[in-house]
């Protein structure tokens, strides 16, 4: 039910309006325009609402934590929540594109850890930081290319392809890093831009989320991505090169993962760790996407929703630790809280659908 509505909302950007019958052409044209406007308005409202219910969860959680501990609502803690959120949000933006087109990338947490070491390798060879950065992102893109070629070219399901590259990339990272953390670059203008400023990481996340949101909702790439995931056969018959679209999304996801890894190393730990990110981060990002309203089956999704999903998970981890929940109970409470938040989210969605229907 929800999927169908959201799919129609997603594909509304390209309504398949045929020419009206010539007999009442004038009336038809006017009626068509009104219908179209009403339809777009409603779908835009729906889209907003879809993200709104996650936003309500964020606000509810924040109020709860702020009431239970005044330190939660401080500027210092906002920076910590931003740090919890940023990497997952950047990666989730990539995963949303992939999930919407009907694929997923399990290897992105490992690409996150590998890319910084390619950066260091290039810098060791004498490349200036900015060049090394592009070399590193090209390395990340290569992982996306491999994922794409094996999945769309050779017909292996992306779950399996990226499970394979997950291990492959992890192994490569351990070898090129000598299984030991290395200090991250800390000097230079580009380094400062990437992660020097206190709010740099979350600003990058917000910029990327806005850009990817625009890509998904306002460009041909986004429209084709939705069509590819929603109805691959139809999209293919309509002349959309679904392989090329998926390929592009694999590369985007891997590059965003690599970029997040570099920013996190520079901004948060000031060191690049071969075991950073990994599967925990990948699951957090996919969970953020799904919490935010992206269908695991493909065809619909929202980048802003995924961002809010990442905020939910960040607030939960930050809030409970800040309250000083002790080690063993932490996981029980976190688990219950994630499920409770999502029950609230789905109930809110149902409520707004029923309100619309009635």
């Amino acid at each position: 039910m929800a999927t169908r509505q959201e799919r129609s909302a997603g594909s509304a950007t390209q309504p398949p309006a045929g020419p009206p019958p010539p007999s009442d052409r004038a009336m038809g044209r006017a009626g068509n325009a009104v219908a179209r406007a009403a339809f777009t308005g409603a779908s835009a409202g729906l889209l907003r609402m879809r993200e709104l219910s996650v936003l309500i969860v964020v606000v509810a959680l924040s109020i709860y934590f702020a009431v239970s501990n005044p330190a939660f609502a401080s500027a210092q803690n906002a920076a910590v929540i931003a740090s919890f959120t940023a990497s997952a949000a950047i990666i989730a933006a990539g995963e949303v594109m992939l999930l919407v087109s009907g694929e997923l990338d399990l290897s992105v947490g490992m690409t996150f850890a590998m890319t910084p070491f390619i950066l260091l390798w290039a810098m060791d060879l004498g490349a200036p930081f900015i060049v090394a950065l592009f070399v590193a992102l090209a390395g990340a893109a290569l992982v996306g290319v491999v994922n794409g070629v094996v999945t769309v070219g050779l017909g292996v399901h992306s779950f399996i392809t990226t499970l394979g590259t997950l291990f492959l990339v992890h192994g490569v990272t351990l070898i090129i890093s000598g299984s030991f953390p290395k200090p991250a670059p800390s000097k230079g203008f580009v380094t400062q831009v990437l992660g020097g400023w206190p709010w740099a990481q979350i600003l990058w996340a917000i910029v990327i989320v806005i850009v990817m949101h625009a890509v998904l909702t306002g460009t041909r790439w986004g429209t084709y991505t939705i069509a590819t995931g929603g109805n691959p056969t139809g999209a293919s018959e309509a002349g959309i090169k679904i392989r090329r679209i998926k390929m592009r999304n694999f590369i985007a996801c891997a590059v965003l993962g690599g970029f997040a890894g570099i920013v996190e190393g520079i901004h948060v730990t000031q060191s690049f760790d071969p075991n950073a990110g990994g599967n925990e981060l990948m699951f957090t990002a996919i969970a953020a996407a799904v919490i935010g309203g992206t269908a695991l089956a493909g065809g619909s999704g929202t980048v802003i929703g995924a961002f809010l999903g990442a905020v939910v998970l960040g607030v939960l981890r930050n809030g409970f630790t800040l309250q000083g929940i002790s080690a063993n109970t932490y996981f029980v409470i976190l688990g219950v809280a994630i499920i409770a938040s999502m029950v609230l989210n789905t109930q809110l969605s149902r409520f707004r659908r029923e309100a619309k229907a009635g």
């Binding site: 953390p181 075991n275 932490y330």
Partner: protein
């Protein structure tokens, strides 16, 4: 748990220096004879001739079963095993689980037993899981030693830190440094047998001292950035804290970075933890952290190989001894040499070099 006498900081530091010298010299000798070209402990050499005045032996193959195979803590351990193998003309394999899955480790151990390897070193991170395989291996004449983490089973000897005792010593140090008030004890993964005993030891020491310290155990997660964020979150909600301590490498670095960010050491908060991640050492020198505890991971690879080899050489007469690889408190006064030197003994470089003390 038995308490055993522990050497003081200075004595231990001095003996460590001597040992580093000795090992460094060994590495240099080997380097010059060109035996260390290959990596991964797969050096192909004929069995033992020319090694001191020992007789020729077959090329023994030993298996290290580890609970976190890719963790950077064990990088020096692998270098230690590799170096010992290069000296003694044997081979080793590094295997086990990446995520502390006891079942995966048992499978690796059973595979080694059925392959008929010449010795097994295993980190015993489960009280029961390894007892059967250990007995089977011994019954087949395969010597088994424990390293890094230990339980009471049939294994011949244990090479590593006495985890509970090390935690107990940290607890005593916490009582000395902090005296009273709220203290956080951070742990990456609660319940894991190579770190949980440290927390238990610390809590017991604090309780037995009778000091009015309120110790809280906080879980941080297994990934360094996440550990840092959770520690910072906890601090922001608990600003009345008097001490923050950690029992694993990543959390220790996280404690140091949070103490540094908020200038907590100057405000009278005390902090410390375990292991020698580069950032941890840097923060000790900066004065943000009070101490970190070194447990000599290099020796936890070097000595098992040596002991297993000696066991075979002597036909089982030389039984692997219990070896405490140490409990060295590294402080601002003693951290210098560790920071200045990149070495295989800390894992910061794979390069063989003679480090002049």
């Amino acid at each position: 748990m038995p308490e055993q006498p522990l050497s003081g900081t200075d004595g231990a530091a001095a003996s460590r220096r001597n040992l580093l010298k000795m090992l460094g010299a060994g590495g240099a000798v080997l380097g010059s004879s060109g035996l260390l070209a290959a990596c991964g402990g797969q050096q192909e050499q004929g069995g033992g001739e020319g090694v001191g005045n020992f007789p020729s032996t077959p090329q023994f193959e030993f298996v290290f079963v580890n609970h976190v195979t890719t963790n950077e803590f064990f990088t020096p351990t692998r270098y230690g095993a590799e170096d010992a193998c290069a000296i003694l003309g044997c081979k080793y394999q590094w295997t086990g689980s990446e995520t502390s899955e006891a079942a995966e480790m048992v499978n690796a151990m059973n595979a080694a037993i059925s392959r008929g390897v010449d010795g097994i070193a295993v980190s015993l991170v489960d009280t029961k899981a390894f007892n059967g395989p250990t007995e089977q291996a011994l019954a087949k004449g395969i010597p088994v030693v424990a390293y890094n983490a230990d339980v009471d089973n049939a294994r011949l000897g244990y090479i590593g830190q006495d985890l509970y005792t090390s935690g107990y010593e940290m607890g005593k140090r916490i009582v000395d440094l902090v005296g009273e008030g709220k203290v956080a004890l951070f742990i990456a993964t609660p319940g894991q047998l190579n770190i949980q005993p440290r927390i238990d030891g610390a809590v017991d020491a604090i309780k037995e001292s009778g000091a009015p310290i309120d110790a809280k155990e906080i879980a941080t997660g297994a990934e360094v950035p996440e550990e840092l964020r959770r520690i910072e979150s906890w601090y922001l909600g608990n600003k009345d804290v008097k001490g923050m301590f950690a029992v694993d490498a990543g959390s220790t670095q996280g404690v140091g970075q949070v103490m540094d960010k908020y200038g907590l050491h100057d405000k009278g908060v005390r902090g410390g933890g375990y292991d020698l991640l580069p950032k941890t050492l840097e923060l000790i020198q900066k004065g943000s952290l009070d101490f970190t505890i070194d447990q000599e991971p290099y020796q936890q690879g070097f000595l098992p190989v040596l002991y297993l080899w000696m066991y075979h050489l002597s036909g089982g007469l030389l039984v692997p001894p219990e070896t405490n690889t140490g409990l060295v408190f590294i402080t601002r006064e003693t951290v210098g040499p560790f920071l200045r030197t990149e070495s295989r003994y800390e894992g910061s470089t794979g390069e063989q070099k003679y480090i002049k003390g």
